[in-house]
Symmetry: C2
């Protein structure tokens, strides 16, 4: 038979079992954390009508989209989870209850040029809270709590949730009479971390901002100190908006509300920062914006970002649907954590907690023990192949199973099992009941340990 | 702004939150059950190179595939989870440990003509055990245990696992000297349930089978009784194979092995049946084959099918990779259960267990209580909108939340919370700690109930 060389496309992540187990752990953690905050799981199709998916149209994204025809239909693969959410809410708004909180973990597709660490198929993990007409700022205040719990549950300690408010920025630019250039200026400010203060100021002036205004901008974004100190420093811009909207003052109040409720939401000041340089590229955001950085890996950029927006579904409905949401690029995050050696091996990544090896032709007792273990929630693999003992133990080693249970003629005659702890090599005889309770204890302990390490493990 | 009418493509399932919660419950049950048997989770790309995915080529499937070009690449969406598994094992066989047990829950795509209950995008839930060169029959004996636990964990009691062995069938046809027509005959037998005995016999004769042989076939598939009785009746064909392979005898031994170990694997005879009419359309299978039917809904057909095969990846490698696997068509199963009214409402489908409603301007205590509840694993939604009390309670009703907790000035002053059980309307004051323990008890009880009902619920 002529054979085809099997391969997986480049830019598509496909993990070996141990790595997949770690990825699953992250996904389970996200699901359960989001659930704690009252978010409902949502699942939308991978394929949508192109007309619907590209309602917003244009831009960089459109070129990257996987778009094709099938029969008479013009179809596209989703490139994010926000557009499908907008579609879903627009279709179902009569049946949903608002505020509608949903999370979605799903694959999205972008045909970017493949390069190391860039994926064409990748998981996003999104949460959004959608209001019907209005949405209280308290929802924006709750988001840092969700980010904080998500990352601490995964084991991360060294991260910072950085927050800004677009109204504060927009109000500030209005005061400077630079509103029409706000987008460009924000775009320049966004590069601050990469290019530094001097270059940033020069770019602003090059872009047509007066020297005075550029200095004002640089001093604004240099505001320093604790959250309380920053809020206080921002007071000097209060009441300076000439327009009726008083947009700066509104933003400052929102930012204050977000900061004020942090302790009640369980977020320590150590993991939070007002960062006036954050603008988030999109025009989309209108209130609080969020970024999350790993403090020892700033080069990774934000691992969890989002913000408040005013119109989720304006391309589909004239209903006003404001919302706030954040997104984690899960596949990229996993790739980075793995590459940095930050994933713990303490969590059990073996497909089973116990491998039962029958040591005699009569397998009845081995099978019954496997059945009993499974009934008691122990992940149990039964080894059934006719191999030499050494091959069986090699298999146990290779899958990294924490325990092997041997069941031979002695065990059957005297009604016990022989347990081998594969980590320390200890081997002992126990009743089935005692064996189960011992195994469960060790397994629970290991699985309760953190997945993400805050130090680089020794290789 | 010109608006696009939002829509979801026909043949693509998209559920409202309560239904999605039930679907998630099924998926969680499958994941945890498969894990109990030592299967590792696997995730493969949705998109594969067409050349790789269609290595086997031809047939009905090819027409249904979503295939398209992107840049220079000829791409296809996966149409099952078996071909990606074959590819994965062929690529990674040097790094995998055999027998390799994996489960995969994932979406697959087939551009079939859309009709009610038929989906173009649907979940399959597959498990497979792959051997390197050989695979003991004990693995085939274990499969009914997995099917049994999966469905009973979901709450189903009225189902039957039907098993046959392709070697028994093939051996039988060899005895009749009808091997070259075996495929056609099996195809005819496969229709027995639909067309009945008479028509089946007539079709066999029409297809060129002698009357004698047709009678022999009809008497073979009519073998009746318990598994033990059927095995005994099959003894009369033993030693009749003229060829060296003695294929019937091998199959009969395998079938006997599978039946013999059932009690040890915890499968009651009541839920198991040898069914000599099962052939499973594909040429692919070579040993035990499985089907699972809901005894009160035979019209649904098999909800979990599979079997033993000899060559998983022959299109990619000359390595012999025998295996055994089963598959559940999850989206269709969910659709049918839902349509039959078989999904329980007792399981909590609300996105939260508790809705906290602040009854005063000072929200600090309400937020702190939400944080405390979440730290204790209670899914808690905080209601933050400025609405009338009636709207808030309407919201609670609409999302079906089991408990509402009110926190107003009295609660703050005297350090208690007011809990309302939304199911029975009872309202009472408790300390936070007592409230949590009460809520957890009720929530756990409800979530431990069965998802699938064995009776049709009253509407």
């Amino acid at each position: 038979m002529e054979r085809i060389k099997p391969r997986t496309l480049s830019g598509f992540m496909e993990l070996l079992p141990e790595k997949q187990a770690q990825m699953e752990r992250i996904m389970e953690t996200l699901r359960s954390t989001y659930s704690l905050y009252g978010f409902a799981p949502l699942d939308t199709p991978i394929i949508e009508a192109s007309e619907v998916l590209l309602a917003k149209g244009g831009g960089e994204t459109e070129k990257q989209i996987y778009r094709f025809e099938k029969g008479d239909s013009d179809l596209s693969l989703r490139f994010d989870l926000t557009v499908p959410l907008a579609k879903y809410v627009a279709i179902n708004c009569g049946q949903l209850s608002f505020p509608f909180r949903r999370y979605q973990l799903g694959k999205v597709f972008r045909g970017e040029r493949a390069q190391r660490g860039r994926f064409r198929e990748f998981y996003q993990a999104d949460i959004d809270i959608i209001g019907d007409g209005e949405l209280d700022v308290m929802n924006e205040a709750e988001i840092p709590a969700i980010i904080y719990r998500t990352f601490t549950t995964l084991g991360l300690t060294k991260f910072k949730i950085r927050v800004n408010n677009r109204k504060v920025l927009n109000g500030f630019f209005e005061i400077l009479e630079l509103s029409d250039r706000a987008a460009d200026i924000m775009h320049t400010i966004d590069k601050l971390d990469k290019i530094g203060t001097e270059k940033c100021r020069a770019l602003l002036i090059e872009g047509g901002v007066s020297e005075n205004a550029a200095d004002e901008i640089m001093s604004f974004i240099a505001i320093n100190g604790t959250s309380a100190e920053k809020l206080k420093a921002l007071e000097k811009y209060r009441n300076k908006n000439t327009t009726y909207s008083k947009i700066f003052d509104v933003g400052l109040k929102e930012l204050g509300d977000v900061v004020r409720h942090l302790p009640e939401f369980g977020v320590p000041e150590s993991h939070f920062e007002i960062d006036l340089t954050i603008a988030r590229g999109l025009d989309y955001y209108t209130g609080t914006v969020y970024e999350t950085t790993l403090t020892e890996h700033p080069e990774i950029g934000s691992v969890c970002s989002g913000g408040r927006y005013d119109n989720l579904a304006e391309y589909y409905t004239d209903k006003k649907l404001p919302g706030v949401g954040i997104s984690i690029g899960l596949t990229r995050l996993f790739f980075v954590l793995e590459e940095q050696g930050m994933l713990s091996n303490e969590i059990i990544t073996s497909p089973a907690d116990v491998l039962i090896i029958p040591m005699t032709e009569n397998k009845a007792k081995a099978i019954e023990t496997a059945t009993l273990f499974r009934e008691n929630g122990i992940r149990t693999m039964l080894y059934s192949e006719q191999k030499k003992f050494k091959s069986k133990m090699n298999f146990a080693d290779k899958i990294g199973v924490p325990f092997v249970v041997f069941i031979g003629d002695d065990e059957i005659a005297d009604n016990f099992v022989t347990v081998k702890n594969m980590k320390n090599g200890h081997q002992f005889k126990k009743s089935e009941k005692m064996a189960m309770s011992y195994i469960k204890g060790v397994v629970t302990l290991r699985n309760n340990s953190d997945l993400i390490l805050n130090f680089v493990k020794e290789k």
